[in-house]
């Protein structure tokens, strides 16, 4: 088999010219062509996404530069106010604080919390007794499945005075929601997300061939060496996927934090989604709330780009 069979007129290909020779004129039949019947099939999905997803995102960038309000004279007839909102955003101490709180919440609950604990659980379960595996694994997944409002309620009760955790840590009179609110809401979110990370890691661990680990054992590699030299490198793709998925899920979280603390006490848990909601719907500044949301879109887009980049590099 050779390329020249398809170039009957060029028995002696000259380098550089050979590439110019074309197949006979006409349409290539093996190339798939666009079929018009695809349009009605695509239309419902793309139409809905354009009208209720992409359009609103673009609209929110416009709203972010207006004095749109929930109530009052500017609720119906709002105007473009230029960089007024932007200036306010840059000098807004609560927004600055909110950026740090969001970073802590996302890193704490998604990376340190859900991903690390999920990995530890998945690895520990490989060597654990069957009963422990089924019971703990099953219940950790239940924590992931519970609706966010139930997560918030359960953790509110557990972290308050005489609650489950306050008693478990031997401080029944303390109220963790007052003494360490950011830590508690991050832990609650991690508790909620860990099950998903654990499922993803457990599936990836099952795909690691036992033979590699077995031969490492033959070479007298101990458990720690096997984990860091073999298992962890092989898990790298899953680790990247999981960290970024957890990060996006944590960034999107509104319910757990809002139901538990509503951003308080004071502004100590005012992560970006909660601050955006508060400005828009409690302080009536829809325009400014939209601008805070825009900051989140930009953050999420950057993270998505990194995610798509990293997941492509693997293949």
């Amino acid at each position: 088999m050779s390329v020249s069979e398809f170039m009957p007129a060029a028995p002696v290909p000259v380098p550089g010219v050979a590439a110019m020779s074309q197949p006979p004129a006409g349409r290539r039949l093996d190339k798939k062509r666009f079929s018009w019947s695809s349009i009605p099939l695509l239309l419902p999905a793309l139409g809905l996404l354009a009208a209720l997803f992409v359009g609103p995102v673009i609209y929110s960038f416009y709203l972010g530069f207006t004095n749109d309000a929930l109530l009052g004279p500017t609720s119906k007839h709002f105007n473009f106010t230029g960089t007024a909102n932007l200036n306010r955003l840059f000098s807004d101490a609560v927004f600055h604080q909110s950026l740090y709180l969001t970073a802590f919440f996302v890193l704490g609950s998604a990376v340190v919390g859900a991903t690390l604990v999920g990995l530890i659980l998945a690895v520990a379960m490989q060597n654990a007794l069957g009963v422990a595996r089924v019971v703990v694994g099953g219940l950790v997944v239940v924590c992931f499945v519970l609706p966010p409002v139930v997560v918030a309620l359960t953790w509110y009760a557990a972290a308050t005075g005489h609650g489950t955790y306050t008693s478990l840590f031997g401080m029944p009179n303390a109220d963790f929601l007052q003494s360490g609110p950011l830590l508690i809401v991050s832990a609650a979110n991690a508790w909620n997300l860990t099950g998903l990370a654990m499922i993803l890691f457990a599936a990836a661990l099952r795909n690691i061939s036992g033979e590699i680990l077995e031969s490492a054992t033959m070479e007298n590699a101990n458990g720690v060496q096997r984990f860091f030299r073999i298992t962890l490198p092989l898990l790298r793709p899953t680790l990247v996927t999981t960290i970024l998925l957890m990060t996006l899920l944590a960034l999107a979280n509104f319910t757990v934090v809002y139901v538990m603390t509503a951003g308080g006490p004071g502004t100590s848990t005012m992560i970006l989604p909660v601050y955006s909601y508060q400005q828009a719907f409690q302080y009536d500044n829809l325009g400014y709330g939209a601008l805070i949301g825009d900051a989140m879109v930009i953050l999420a887009t950057i993270l998505s780009f990194i995610y798509v980049r990293l997941s492509r590099e693997r293949t």
Binding site: S35, L46, L52, M125, L139, V141, P147, L248, A300
Partner: protein, 293 residues
């Protein structure tokens, strides 16, 4: 200038018949560490769940983890007409959302899986990125769009919730259809079957587990959402269960037993659906497969 590239397959070395591997159950330090770690983390994870269950049957329920003073009163109290109405609203909202997301996602997923369309790669990448956009940023522009048209009600809010699940559902369905062989459709095409016939008779039945998984995802996503109904539904009689539960916090006295039992009633449908999902696929296939693309 035909250059034959000969690839000589190296003869496979003789593999000796596998010796029976004897693996006595040993107590290694690794196992001890694993089991202890699992136990400690397990207790920390499970304690709040145990509290939730015990509190729901405790006549003197409180945030404290204690052996219950057994009663079913909490459940009968929680099942009052307003709370049941909220649960019914949740069912309606989630069904509409799942339908609005799944039907368009199936049609479009088929095209993305089988047909040649211009800019397919960038379009799919864009849809994947939409799946990662935090929902809370859409709420202000959608509120502004809906408020001006008197759309602040159950049905428009449900449709919007469906659209928020659409990107991810499309990915699940497209990836599932990619794994389904194409030969049957090609022969049906030769028999002059229409696109809709092929889709309905051939593709949907074979891809049903994937479509079912996507629909369950859409349902659960809407079932758990709190922000969208809170902002986009103005009539309190149309509010779903999560908003009703948030209302429990409002009073001066928190009735823990009632909240705990209502939480369980509200969580059980999702637990059942996840069980169905794990029956459709073992382990993390749905999520890992859909996300990896």
């Amino acid at each position: 200038m035909a250059v034959e590239v000969e690839t000589l397959a190296a003869p496979a070395p003789e593999i000796p018949p596998d010796a029976v591997r004897v693996r006595p159950p040993r107590v290694t330090s690794g196992r001890v560490v694993s089991n202890v770690t699992l136990l400690v983390l397990g207790v920390l994870f499970i304690a709040p769940l145990v509290w939730l269950i015990l509190d729901s049957v405790d006549s003197q329920a409180s945030p404290t983890l204690q052996w219950p003073h057994f009663t079913f009163r909490n459940f009968t109290d929680a099942a009052n007409s307003a709370n049941l109405l909220a649960l019914r609203n949740s069912v309606i909202i989630s069904l509409i959302a799942a339908l609005i997301a799944t039907v368009p996602a199936t049609l479009a997923g088929y095209v993305f899986s089988r047909r040649h369309i211009p800019f397919k790669g960038p379009l799919l990448l864009g849809i994947l990125m939409l799946a990662g956009v935090p929902m809370s940023i859409l709420i202000v522009p959608i509120y502004q769009l809906f408020a001006g048209r008197n759309f602040l009600a159950l049905v428009p809010a449900s449709i919007f919730l469906g659209v928020t699940s659409l990107p991810f559902e499309l990915w699940i369905i497209k990836n599932f259809m990619d794994a389904v062989p194409i030969e049957l459709e090609e022969s049906a095409r030769l028999e002059q079957a229409s696109t809709l016939q092929i889709l309905w008779r051939l593709v949907v039945p074979v891809a049903l587990p994937g479509i079912g998984a996507a629909a369950i995802f859409g349902f659960i996503n809407a079932w758990g959402n709190f922000l969208v109904p809170l902002v986009l539904i103005s009539n309190s009689a149309q509010q779903p269960a999560p908003v009703a539960m948030y209302g429990f916090f409002g009073g001066n006295v928190i009735r823990w037993g009632e909240i705990a039992s209502y939480s369980i009633m509200y969580s059980i449908p999702v637990l059942i659906l996840y069980l169905a999902l794990s029956r459709l696929f073992r382990g993390g296939f749905v999520l890992s497969g859909a996300i990896r693309g």
